[in-house]
């Protein structure tokens, strides 16, 4: 095993499995088996436009919002929020692009992001001033790759985003207004004044046990109840609220607040209806001026649709899709959300699809085109974040659409043709959004599974594959105390990348972000001090003379900082409730309107959804196994010797010099530690079905889970453990020194949750999966496994069948999730060298797909380094 990793260090070659394949130098690389183009010329034009469009920051909404917010200062909070939302939505410019059929978007630009200064204003200012941020050096890795900064007259640019000069001044004014009033500013003050562990919090941020604050994009990871806007229409919601108001006398404060919420809901619904009307007017105006008669007709159709939905129930497939889309972005305007997921649109829209087909209003080809265009709509909605988060998440929107699963009422297979079209559009219109997932149930049809296999072979990394029954089991377990029904549990989706979500009935997974596991181990091994900053963050722990002591110290430090992190977040949300309670978002979550309460006040049907994430557990498990074996059992080295070897980076020069953030092509400058390095690498490694290390891995998770359960969230329920890393393993790795698992300083941590460290899984994919299923996913909101497969290994129909069988067996064994990069490593290397040729190359990163050229280099390196499974 060490030979694999050492070989990577020396030669820079990806370890492939089986190893015999690695020894062969192929000429060129194997292309993806499935590759298709958009089905219509319209689709091709829109895709081209999308790929060539720069991301734009658009402050228009926030300027209007802030104006109204100030003007409505005397109103009750919910009403003030709703009035500001309404004023801003009605004021922003409607923009319809050429060729568009499904219209409306958050900003004036195709790849536009709006601002939410009420969350955090500081980084917009920074953006404007182009000055560096805290830890910018460490985190400025989210913008690597092929997107070039092109200087344009009248624009300012940072990274991938530009802003018009004329927008700079208004945005600055808005930011000045929110200074001291935004959630972030108020939360910091509130924490300083009231949080007993505030010093620990500050230290933990400094040493990067936690990534920099994510308050600016804190909302998300839920699935709106689109059926409310599609099947009922917003006028019906307004009617319901009016009735509830007229039947309620404000007896207590709680009841009074219900009335205020319903009133706010009415205002918000009216806002969305008017916003759509503005677009309808715009379409009429454009139709008048349009010379092409075909386009004129299209624009008139667009106007007709928007004059009907979202106010009234949708009548056709196109109306239903348009209404659902409006609901989606209207939520996004309401709050700074990431991971807002459409869920089961194949189920939502199918009755309309079927009816239109029967009545001759729609053809299958037209439906496919709409699905393709919809993909671009999802992909076009950007968000902007501090560059620190960009590094964490590579600015992915994590909008997850799900096919498969069952009919929630009957438990029967519910696969339909529209779900096949969703997968087909994922092949023919490859965009990073929405990402796709398939819920695999024993009843799932082979037809849908084979279509999903075909889609996987197109190489964009989606669909992700989920075990439906495991997800249902989690929900039944997790929400038992809230009395979850079997029907709601069966309607499971993904909220964000791989977190279990409820279809329109659950609170979001609103969390502080990631906990850095490897940093924790570094602090434990250095007696409470962070070696990178020299900062003491924990009292001296004393000598570690046994594995048991090591474990105890680990638990002490970890519990401390996990608890601080979770408590911190409760303070943050406490301030958020006072500044930005969610109004329209709550309208589209059951049962907020019935309860008269917003989501952040337990208005949703299910609320035990607040999670904590982490990154680097595999590294820690491998490190602990190596220490246990070499130091405490074989006594070949002392713990000091291991730490010293780590401190000296095992004799390698810093990764910054090589510019490579995986274990590739690193230069050895001293041979002094090569024996200990090899021994550490040869110690048992997770991913080989070896109980020695796998049991430590499971124990680590069990402790993590119990620590989560020990704290109460801001909704009054236990915190829930979730496991995924997005791309946090990149920047976290750069902040951590060499670790006893043999990883060099600065090298990206092991991605995902159940994935093995590149090069250390030497017994093939099944051994890796067997290691993975030792961790029971039931109490966890997410578990994740990423696998890289060579296109050759699953070629043809037989290959697809084997591939589906492979996944089904993994799920039979208890697996929860698996996703694939079906791509030749040599192709990725070529893409790194010639990004200009790979503008549309999409790869799977952690829980999501991303454009290769928009990924930071550490993550690109890590992707190439992942063990590649090639069938022999």
């Amino acid at each position: 095993m060490s030979q694999n990793v050492l070989s990577m260090l020396e030669t820079g070659k990806t370890v492939t499995w089986p190893p015999t394949e690695a020894e062969q130098k192929k000429e060129g690389f194997v292309p993806r088996e499935v590759k298709r183009e958009p089905s219509t010329e319209r689709g091709k034009r829109i895709r081209e436009r999308f790929l060539n469009t720069r991301c734009m920051l658009d402050p228009q909404f926030s300027v209007h919002y802030t104006k109204a917010w100030q003007e409505n200062a005397g109103e009750p909070l919910y009403i003030r929020r709703a009035l500001s939302y309404k004023y801003a939505l009605e004021k922003i410019d409607p923009v319809i692009d050429p060729d568009e059929l499904i219209v409306m978007r958050k900003s004036r630009y195709m790849r536009g992001a709006i601002c939410y200064p009420q969350y955090s204003q500081e980084f917009y200012k920074t953006f404007i001033e182009k000055s560096a941020e805290t830890d910018a050096e460490l985190f400025d890795v989210g913008t690597g790759g092929g997107k070039k900064d092109i200087k344009r007259e009248g624009y300012r640019t940072i990274g991938v985003f530009s802003i018009k000069e004329e927008d700079v001044e208004p945005l600055s004014e808005v930011c000045n207004y929110w200074t001291g009033k935004s959630i972030e500013d108020v939360a910091i003050k509130f924490l300083e004044e009231n949080f007993p562990e505030n010093d620990d919090l500050v230290n933990a941020f400094k040493v990067m046990l936690y990534p920099p604050s994510v308050i600016s994009i804190m909302e998300g990871r839920w699935i709106p109840a689109y059926d409310i806007i599609v099947e009922r229409g917003l006028e019906d919601v307004i009617k319901e609220c009016e009735e509830r108001i007229s039947n309620t006398i404000p007896t207590t404060r709680d009841v009074a607040e219900q009335i205020m919420f319903w009133r706010a809901a009415i205002i918000s619904c009216q806002a969305v209806i008017n916003w759509a009307k503005n677009y309808a007017d715009k379409a009429r105006e454009m139709a008048k001026a349009e010379e092409c008669s075909e386009r004129k007709k299209e624009l008139e159709e667009i106007a007709e649709i928007l004059e009907w939905v979202p106010a009234k129930p949708a009548r056709t497939f196109r109306e239903a899709m348009q209404a659902a889309w409006i609901g989606h972005i209207a939520v996004w305007m309401d709050c700074s959300v990431v991971g807002l997921s459409p869920g089961r649109w194949g189920q939502l829209l199918y009755p309309y699809y079927q009816k239109d087909l029967e009545e001759g209003r729609l053809t299958k080809e037209e439906a496919l085109e709409l699905m393709e265009l919809l993909r671009v709509k999802f992909a076009s909605e950007e968000y902007i974040t501090p560059s620190s988060w960009a590094a964490m998440a590579s600015s992915n929107q994590f909008q997850h659409m799900i096919v498969g699963g069952v009919d929630p009422k009957t438990g029967r297979c519910s696969d339909n043709e529209l779900e096949e079209l969703i997968l087909e559009a994922g092949i023919s219109m490859q965009t990073t959004q929405p990402t796709l997932g398939i819920m695999v149930n024993p009843k799932t049809s082979e037809r849908l599974l084979m279509k999903a296999a075909e889609c996987t072979k197109a190489g964009a990394g989606y669909p992700a594959w989920f075990n439906h029954e495991t997800c249902v089991k989690h929900l039944l377990w997790c929400h038992a105390e809230e009395g979850i029904t079997l029907e709601d549990a069966r309607d499971v989706c993904m909220a964000g990348c791989v977190e279990v979500g409820l279809q329109g009935t659950g609170h979001g997974i609103c969390h502080p972000a990631f906990y850095n596991e490897v940093k924790t181990l570094e602090i434990v091994l250095n007696d409470g001090v962070d070696p990178r900053t020299g900062l003491r963050v924990f009292e001296p722990l004393g000598e570690i003379d046994s594995f048991e002591t090591l474990w105890e110290n680990w638990c002490k430090v970890k519990e401390k900082f996990m608890k601080v992190y979770m408590r911190y977040w409760n303070y943050v949300v406490a301030t958020r409730r006072q500044i930005n309670p969610l109004i329209f978002s709550s309208v589209l979550v059951k049962d907020c309107v019935a309860k008269g309460k917003p989501m952040d006040d337990n208005g949703a049907r299910y609320n035990k959804t607040v999670t904590l994430l982490n990154s680097g557990m595999v590294n820690v498990a491998n490190a602990m196994a190596a220490i246990k074996k070499l130091v405490f059992e074989e006594k070949k080295y002392t713990l000091e010797e291991v730490c010293e070897a780590c401190a000296n980076n095992f004799g390698y020069e810093p990764v910054e010099k090589s510019g490579n953030f995986s274990m590739f092509n690193q230069k050895k400058v001293s041979r002094e530690w090569e024996q200990i390095h090899r021994d550490l690498l040869e110690a048992p490694k997770y991913g080989n079905d070896d109980d020695y290390v796998d049991s430590i891995f499971v124990d680590l998770w069990e402790h993590y889970n119990q620590t989560c359960f020990s704290e109460t969230s801001y909704l009054g329920y236990e915190w829930i453990p979730a496991a995924l890393s997005i791309t946090a393993h990149g920047p976290f790795g750069r902040a951590c020194g060499a670790s006893p698992d043999g990883r060099l300083a600065g090298v990206t941590l092991t991605d995902g949750v159940l994935s093995a460290t590149p090069g250390t899984d030497v017994n093939g994919p099944i051994a890796l999966l067997n290691s993975g299923v030792k961790l029971d996913p039931t109490p966890m909101r997410s578990v994740q496994l990423n696998m890289k497969m060579h296109p050759q290994s699953i070629k043809g129909t037989e290959g697809s069948k084997n591939f589906v069988n492979f996944i089904k067996t993994y799920f039979d064994q208890g697996g929860y999730h698996i996703q694939f990069n079906v791509v030749d490593s040599d192709m990725l290397r070529d893409a790194q060298a010639h990004p200009e040729n790979y503008r549309d190359l999409i790869v799977r990163v952690a829980g999501f797909s991303a454009y290769w050229v928009e990924l930071g280099k550490p993550i690109q390196d890590e992707l190439i380094a992942r063990t590649e499974y090639a069938a022999c």
Binding site: T20, E23, F806, D812
Partner: protein, 311 residues
């Protein structure tokens, strides 16, 4: 009952294999083969004993291995040819000692051992691990080398598989004594028989042995267990790829009432391994056949009334 303590020499076990037999399979590669085919893809499977691979590209010339070798089998290279590395291993002196001092001394992945003595139960461990993934149609494939070279060991593995209801396949040259092949009938579900060249002299030239016994064996197997025999032909330019040869193989297949032939296009996977074992690759200039040629040969087979699959 299978004898789980029986030992043999294995040079690889690969799970999730999808090319050697139906479904998802685990391939166990046994060392030892009587043929010396020029195009051999697994030359490390030819000798039955463990051997040292030398990856010249990885060698940094530290010469630690020279000092550690108890038999003075390693020397500094005098003719420092490009890509041939800094050391030479005298294969006649190497006794593949179990402690592997030379491999241990190398920190650069330049020296690696191929071939490991394993017991049947050790082989069965990963097989049983993979068993759920075999589902309805997958299973184990014994490969090599020729598994019959270690007949007794192979036999025990096959028995152990059958005791666990695992589908079994063998990739074989069919060169073994017929009794040995016959003895495996109850334990093998599929024989992937390599048939390379019908012309005896040419067969002798490119594989080192006559094809007489191979043809006789296949004939007998086809009579005894026709549903279990599948003919596989490596298509090697200049050796096996002439139309006459392929047609003759197809005719032979049909005459023996077998119905299917798999044509396997030549690849150069074996070349680097020949070099790492310190041997000359006998056919450095031969290129893999193109798609068109494979299709044409497929047609030849089909003209003889035999079902043909490429790959």
């Amino acid at each position: 009952m299978a004898n789980l303590n029986k030992t043999g020499v294995v040079f690889d076990i690969q799970s999730f294999s999808t090319h050697d037999g139906p479904g998802i399979r685990t391939i166990v590669f046994l060392k030892g083969c009587q043929l010396r085919c020029h195009w051999c893809a697994n030359p490390e499977g030819q000798n039955v004993f463990p051997e040292v691979f030398y990856h010249a590209m990885n060698c940094v010339g530290c010469f630690e291995c020279i000092q550690k070798c108890p038999l003075d089998a390693i020397t500094r290279a005098e003719d420092e040819q490009k890509n041939k590395g800094f050391i030479r291993i005298d294969r006649s002196k190497c006794r593949h000692c179990p402690q592997l001092d030379c491999v241990q001394a190398c920190f650069n992945d330049a020296l690696k051992i191929t071939g490991k003595i394993m017991r049947v139960d050790e082989v069965m461990k990963p097989v049983m691990r993979d068993k759920p993934y075999f589902r309805d149609n997958g299973g184990i494939t014994l490969s090599g080398g020729d598994p019959f070279f270690q007949h007794d060991f192979a036999m025990e593995i096959l028995k152990a598989c059958k005791e666990n209801y695992i589908h079994t396949a063998i990739e074989t040259e069919a060169f073994a004594a017929y009794e040995k092949i016959e003895a495996t009938f109850p334990y093998v579900d599929l024989y992937l028989c390599d048939l390379k060249i019908m012309d005896p002299a040419k067969h002798q030239q490119f594989t080192g042995v006559s094809n007489k016994r191979i043809l006789e064996n296949i004939k007998k197997m086809a009579a005894a267990v026709p549903s279990k025999v599948l003919i596989r032909v490596p298509v090697i330019p200049g050796c096996t790829d002439d139309v006459e040869n392929i047609r003759a193989i197809a005719a032979f297949t049909r005459e023996n009432n077998l119905t299917r032939i798999h044509l396997l296009p030549y690849h150069k996977l074996g070349q680097p391994k020949f070099e790492q074992l310190g041997r000359e690759y006998p056919m450095p200039d031969v290129q893999p056949p193109d798609k068109g040629q494979m299709e044409a040969l497929k047609q030849v087979v089909e003209e003889e009334g035999v079902v043909c699959v490429v790959g």
